[in-house]
């Protein structure tokens, strides 16, 4: 059982408390109105009348630890750094990675993937693949969170797609264009 706070006469008359409340909201209204005017008419861009982040144009900064869309890291010559060791495929709890290995043209490097598919429809974004990778070949630092598709097949990202992605900048804003679903 909770003890209800005693309501005094002032609260029960209601009118005084209503006026106080109206004062609070009116102060917000006129304060924000002034700040909006300073922002858009006086061009004071440091003054903001709202906490809104207008999402597609503006983004709030992401933490560098954020696990976003995967990408495959390239070597200097552009070939994937991945050596098809299958560590990530093995550790993946969602079984969403599919790798097919092949010979690397360079004899110093044993293998490279012929196929490297991630089914993002299954991925749970645990980041184990990044932890497991001995070559630092897969990372989740693109800053892209908005990938979608009209079909299950569209959620499968192939090696070419993953290799083309760039890491996000220091504020977490993606450098690569957000992949738009093809109809």
């Amino acid at each position: 059982m909770t003890d209800r706070p005693k309501i005094g006469l002032r609260q029960r008359v209601y009118l005084v408390e209503v006026l106080i409340g109206l004062g609070v909201t009116a102060r917000h209204f006129f304060g924000n109105l002034g700040r909006h005017a300073a922002h858009s008419i006086l061009r004071r861009k440091d003054v903001r009348g709202a906490v809104t982040i207008q999402y597609p144009e503006e983004r709030r900064p992401y933490s560098p630890r954020l696990r976003s869309l995967h990408r495959l890291v390239r070597r200097e010559d552009g070939s994937p750094r991945c050596v098809a060791c299958m560590m990530c495929e093995t550790v993946c709890p969602a079984h969403c990675i599919y790798i097919m290995a092949s010979e690397h043209p360079n004899p110093d490097i044993e293998k490279m993937p012929a196929r490297f598919d991630i089914d993002l429809g299954k991925c749970v974004f645990c980041g184990f693949c990044v932890e497991a990778c001995p070559e630092d070949a897969i990372r989740m630092d693109t800053g892209i969170l908005e990938f979608s598709a009209y079909s299950r097949e569209g959620m499968i990202y192939t090696m070419d797609k993953l290799l083309a992605l760039e890491p996000a900048d220091e504020t977490g804003r993606p450098r690569s264009p957000v992949p738009l679903p093809a109809r």
Partner: protein, 369 residues
């Protein structure tokens, strides 16, 4: 022979022009209020509010959103439930909006306009029982709501309709009783006379506006008036969080008309509050010949300028009252059904009777008004 017919034509033209102006004011205020509601609530809550609708990349602070809403509602499906009373279901939103729209007719928006030897009272309809007319139209508006609730063949809609009726009775009595005080002070039920009565000054300094002669009446009238608009904090007929309300089964523009009726009622209550308590079209120290400030400072003005100032003052006051009612709507939480009933019957009603008695006691020694 030609004289009377042109006189009749001119009379008709003037009548049409006045009605058209009143309608224009109500409809435009109602339409813009949908935008004001979004923007004002957003600014009060540190948000930006709807700003995406644009025409050729022009956004104008989201002013196109009412337009986009209208297009959306007109193109949406109008659904009628299978067991609904089709006739009543169809006519209910029209009733609701119609009575809200015509209620503004007796609110005066200016003093007498002298044009071409005619004296035109700036009031869509000149009725010597103007207040009672507005009062009656606001009460009739609830028929649309009750019929909508009943004709929908939906228990929740029916509950909403019943609540609307109960709320209307408990609030309209308080409205009527608080108006009685105003009628006593200014000695008339004609709104134009009441507004003229507010052009008198105490000690040549303080205008005798209704808010000063009837402070309690003002608070009671505004509270009951907000209840009559069926908006938060008195949104019992709608009660989005409990029963969704009398328009559950409505879609498309029919729903839009109910929503519009709420906004139009807000404008009507704002207009009534302005006329009865805020001096109507009166500008402080503005007389038919021009400004005449205390201390013998007089600025003569031409007749048309005076009339324009008066109409402008009326519209400004209505806009302010609309803003204030929006501020209340976005500040207070909603009343529960029993709380609103208790406030109406045990708070507003006895207080408004007390207000009438007190006003009578004050006026009695002076021998009437």
């Amino acid at each position: 022979m030609n004289e009377p017919s042109t006189g009749l034509a001119a009379d008709l033209g003037i009548a049409f022009a006045k009605v058209a102006f009143a309608m224009l004011v109500v409809l435009n205020f109602g339409g813009i209020l949908t935008w004001v509601e979004r923007k004002q609530s957003a600014i009060m809550q540190d948000r930006i509010g709807a700003n995406r609708a644009s025409i050729f990349g022009l956004r104008l602070f989201g002013l196109f959103h009412p337009l986009a809403d209208a297009i959306k509602m007109l193109t949406k499906e109008e659904f009628t439930p299978a067991r609904a009373d089709r006739f009543l279901f169809g006519i209910a939103p029209f009733l609701s909006l119609f009575f809200a729209l015509v209620a503004f007719a007796t609110v005066p928006f200016g003093d007498v306009l002298r044009l071409g030897g005619r004296e035109i009272s700036l009031q869509a309809v000149e009725l010597n029982v103007g207040i009672l007319y507005v009062f009656a139209m606001l009460s009739l508006g609830v028929y649309g709501v009750v019929l909508a609730g009943w004709a929908s063949a939906n228990n929740y809609a029916l509950l909403g309709g019943q609540r609307a009726a109960a709320l209307m009775i408990s609030s309209e009595i308080a409205i009527g009783a608080s108006i009685m005080g105003v009628a006593l002070v200014y000695g008339s039920l004609d709104m134009q006379t009441i507004v003229r009565g507010q052009g008198v000054y105490w000690f040549d300094l303080v205008p005798k506006w209704g808010i000063l002669t009837q402070p309690l009446g003002f608070v009671l009238f505004l509270t009951a008036g907000i209840a009559a608009t069926k908006r938060i904090p008195f949104d019992l007929p709608e009660s989005e969080s409990e029963i969704v309300g009398y328009f559950v089964e409505y879609s498309g523009m029919r729903f839009g008309m109910f929503m519009m009726a709420d906004f139009v009622e807000t404008v009507v209550i704002a207009g009534m509050t302005t006329a009865l308590f805020l001096g109507g079209w009166q500008v402080p120290f503005l007389f038919p010949e021009g400004f005449n400030f205390p201390g013998d400072l007089a600025i003569p003005l031409p007749h048309l300028a005076v009339v324009a100032l008066q109409v402008g003052a009326f519209l400004t006051k209505v806009a302010f009252m609309c803003w204030f009612m929006m501020l209340i709507r976005w500040t207070l939480p909603r009343f529960r059904y029993d709380q609103a009933m208790r406030l109406g019957w045990l708070g507003l009603f006895p207080l408004s009777i007390l207000n009438v008695v007190l006003t009578g006691l004050v006026l009695l020694p002076r021998g009437g008004s």
